[in-house]
Symmetry: C2
Subunit: 285 residues, 2 copies
């Protein structure tokens, strides 16, 4: 049970947590903090948050728990505001898709990694944006990864874990580097490939005709290319090393595939396609 | 209305056409032709075809219309069998994902492009294989592209067009080169990218862990990597030039994206991601 949860950034991710915790009656009060008063007011009217604040002091001053759910590029400013205005015993977590940069930003603002900060990442979401797309069941049975340090307070970890579990999620704890490496390969890289493909086609002269002939496979493959550009710019810039590693690997593998097609090497193609099919069938979501 | 339709290759594509035409009561008799008597017998029992034949003479000898729905690598043999055993006035069509190679194979067997051959491609299907995955509504409101030549008989074109329309599809006529170029970009390339990504991850030491953390975006993005390896080997080898062109373009674009991330060039990233999002939103399937 949380007395006041303040959510900085009431979009798909923050709004969905608010809705899930309201449904579970897990918070006495949920305050949304953001720059746009109109949007906050609309989120209030939609019953997603209890109150909206554009002022950080009013928004986080009384909070017991703060969730940061804004693009990664804003974290340094948000930490500075929280440091200035929040209570010393507040528990802070976030929902960013990369985690080492969160620790870096916190260290820059606090001079050390605060023991009440529990970085987190709900492995959920979709290509939509804004609180209008948020739902109470977004986290139902989904994984939330927390990446505390050795110095993080057990109370803070337990608080954040219990909050996500109240929203229906399964919580796992792992280390920052592992998280960033795994997510670069399984989430950040696919987003880049999809953005890249749609842009590549969109820039061709006959793009209307190309999209007109696109079938179901293309639709599924490119759905994630409708994701928020600013959020993904920040992920690319803030998880740069892991993404460059994953992308470099992939480019090499794609070049092998290119060579096999060029050489008419059917045997290699069947080997690659079969290995992929077996892996995909085995992890049949 | 067709008296006897013979389907060479009763899998997802052939089986779905059979089911759709049965539902529409459009054929007096549907004969399946294949190499595996057991599978044909099972398709009969499932009510998908009326009769199964492993012998081409028995399978296509009395056919009014023949649909070839086998991997592209088999076409030359299939054309040879049809030339030997089918009636001279039979109408022949196919469901191959590449079209210039179909014309090439037909020319090799017949010495010219037969006027009763109407190459076709239903832009439908999914990652599943086999007649067990076939459904009567697979072609409902989906596009079927026919690529006849200037010499193709109008009667043959009308027959094939009416057949697909009876199955619920929208039929379009285009030329072979255009088809192969467009499909390379919107279907063959995405399949390659998905096969490549899943294989790339599957070969990593921690692949179990990688797949365990994969979320919805990854699931959608890689669904097509469960497609049939033999079918896709043949597409890669038989639509090689168009695919190499599309793949080369994409590799260059991906390399630009790589450079932007490496250089921390957020402006270029937002430009690419925004263009992609706008295109994807506009063609919102």
């Amino acid at each position: 049970m949380i007395k006041q949860l303040s959510i900085v950034g009431v979009g798909l991710i923050g709004g969905s947590l608010a809705q899930a915790l309201k449904k579970a009656a897990y918070c006495k009060k949920i305050v949304g903090v953001g720059r746009n008063a109109e949007r906050l007011s609309a989120a209030c009217k939609a019953g997603i948050i209890d109150r909206g604040e554009t002022d950080f002091k009013a928004g986080v001053g009384e909070a017991d728990v703060i969730l940061i759910a804004t693009p990664l590029d804003t974290y340094r400013d948000v930490f500075t505001q929280i440091k200035t205005h929040a209570r010393a015993d507040v528990v802070i977590t976030d929902a960013g898709s990369a985690k080492s940069c969160v620790a870096d930003d916190a260290r820059k603002v606090y001079g050390r990694l605060p023991e009440n900060l529990v970085p987190g990442h709900p492995i959920a979401g979709n290509e939509k944006s804004g609180f209008e797309a948020s739902t109470a069941d977004l986290y139902e049975s989904r994984r939330v990864v927390l990446t505390p340090s050795a110095d993080t307070s057990p109370h803070a970890i337990a608080t954040v874990k219990a909050m996500w579990e109240a929203a229906g999620a399964c919580v796992e704890i792992t280390d920052v580097e592992h998280h960033d490496h795994v997510l670069a390969a399984t989430s950040h890289l696919p987003h880049l490939l999809a953005f890249g493909l749609v842009d590549s086609l969109a820039r061709q002269q006959d793009s209307e005709e190309l999209f007109r002939f696109a079938a179901g496979g293309f639709r599924d493959f490119t759905r994630i290319a409708a994701s928020d550009p600013i959020m993904w710019r920040d992920i690319c810039l803030r998880n740069r090393d892991s993404i460059l590693f994953a992308l470099g690997n992939y480019e090499r593998d794609l070049s092998d595939l290119h060579t096999a097609i060029k050489d008419g090497d059917g045997e290699t193609l069947v080997k690659i396609f079969t290995r992929a099919k077996q892996a995909r069938d085995r992890f049949n979501y």
